[in-house]
């Protein structure tokens, strides 16, 4: 029973695949292939981030994290967190373990919240995005996301604390 509880989601997916395999075998097999391909593509990146989080957990002292990302760094810290969020690249979920390490080390929820929020702004991708959407679209939406990410961080701290 403990096994079922721990791997609930995984079991659900397996059952879903079995059901779909019976109903739509061809489509399901190509879905399986697609999923495995994407998974293998992301795997090295995920290994890197997990190892880096473990490094941070072991070698960066709580004082350092608290000093730069602690709650007492105030609005300045939150804005800094949001700005930092705009320069990191890669899919959002990959960095979750690193953010969790920061939180465990005493980083403020607002700062991490703002950082995750601003992660939606992909600065290195700006010219690429503008090529499809136009500069006005990209600049206005990125600017608004930046502002909202600060608000999101503050709200998260208010709700979760």
């Amino acid at each position: 029973m403990k096994f079922v509880k721990k791997y609930f989601f995984e079991i659900l997916i397996v059952l879903l695949y079995i059901a779909l395999m019976v109903l739509y075998p061809v489509k399901t097999i190509s879905a399986l292939k697609e999923g495995i391909m994407l998974f293998l593509k992301m795997l090295p990146l995920f290994i890197c981030v997990t190892l880096f989080s473990a490094f941070l957990a072991m070698f960066v002292s709580k004082d350092v994290i608290r000093k730069y990302m602690g709650e007492e760094s105030g609005l300045k810290g939150i804005v800094f967190g949001a700005l930092f969020g705009t320069i990191i690249v890669g899919p959002l979920w990959v960095l979750f373990p690193m953010f969790q390490t920061f939180l465990e080390k005493g980083a403020g929820i607002a700062i991490i919240g703002a950082m995750i929020g601003a992660f939606a702004i992909k600065t290195p991708w700006l010219p690429y995005a503008a090529g499809f959407l136009g500069w006005p679209f990209v600049l206005v939406s990125f600017g608004l996301i930046l502002v909202y990410s600060v608000i999101e961080g503050i709200l998260m701290e208010k709700i979760l604390k």
Partner: protein, 168 residues
């Protein structure tokens, strides 16, 4: 693909440099963090694999053309809301999100709808939600995603208003 390769190079350099520093500073601590990190990685592997299998299902059973047709067709609040929901569920690199946004605009979707769709794509993670819960806990993950969902709509609608003078 280019996106993944360049971020992979960046993160590999970061990991190598940080462990180079670690091993020089304290060998036993460095080994310990390496094995701890590896164990954490293995712990999270099954869930991650399941999530990617789900993404595979989405890709095949809900092709992107269907999404474009669905969002591009309507106007108003319903279309904004469905753009937000679809954007939240879809998973994929931004390299495919922006071109899709371009297609939406060309097909006659409003700026607001397109912006909401793209915002939800990068801000909300429904498929990766179980993973987010396993890392941060249920309360954190839920709060973050709800706020991100609201934000995706608010920011998108405002973007539309600023650029076209219309809210929807």
């Amino acid at each position: 693909m280019k996106n993944i390769v360049s971020s992979l190079i960046l993160y590999t350099v970061i990991v190598v440099l940080s462990y180079y520093y670690a091993f020089r500073k304290d060998k036993s601590k460095a080994k310990k963090s390496l094995s701890k990190g590896w164990k954490q990685f293995l712990d999270r592997l099954p869930l991650l694999f399941a999530i990617f299998l789900l993404i595979g299902l989405f890709d095949v059973f809900v092709p992107k053309e269907v999404v474009v047709k669905f969002i591009g067709a309507g106007r108003g609040i319903v279309s904004i809301f469905s753009a937000a929901v679809l954007g939240s569920v879809i998973m994929g690199p931004v390299s495919s999100a922006y071109p899709l946004g371009g297609v939406l605009l060309k097909k006659g979707a409003t700026v607001a709808t397109t912006a909401v769709f793209l915002n939800a794509w990068v801000m909300v993670g429904v498929v990766t939600f179980p993973f987010e819960v396993s890392v941060f806990g249920k309360k954190f993950a839920l709060t973050r995603n709800v706020l991100a969902f609201i934000g995706a709509i608010v920011v998108g609608v405002l973007t539309g208003f600023i650029l076209t003078g219309r809210f929807l």
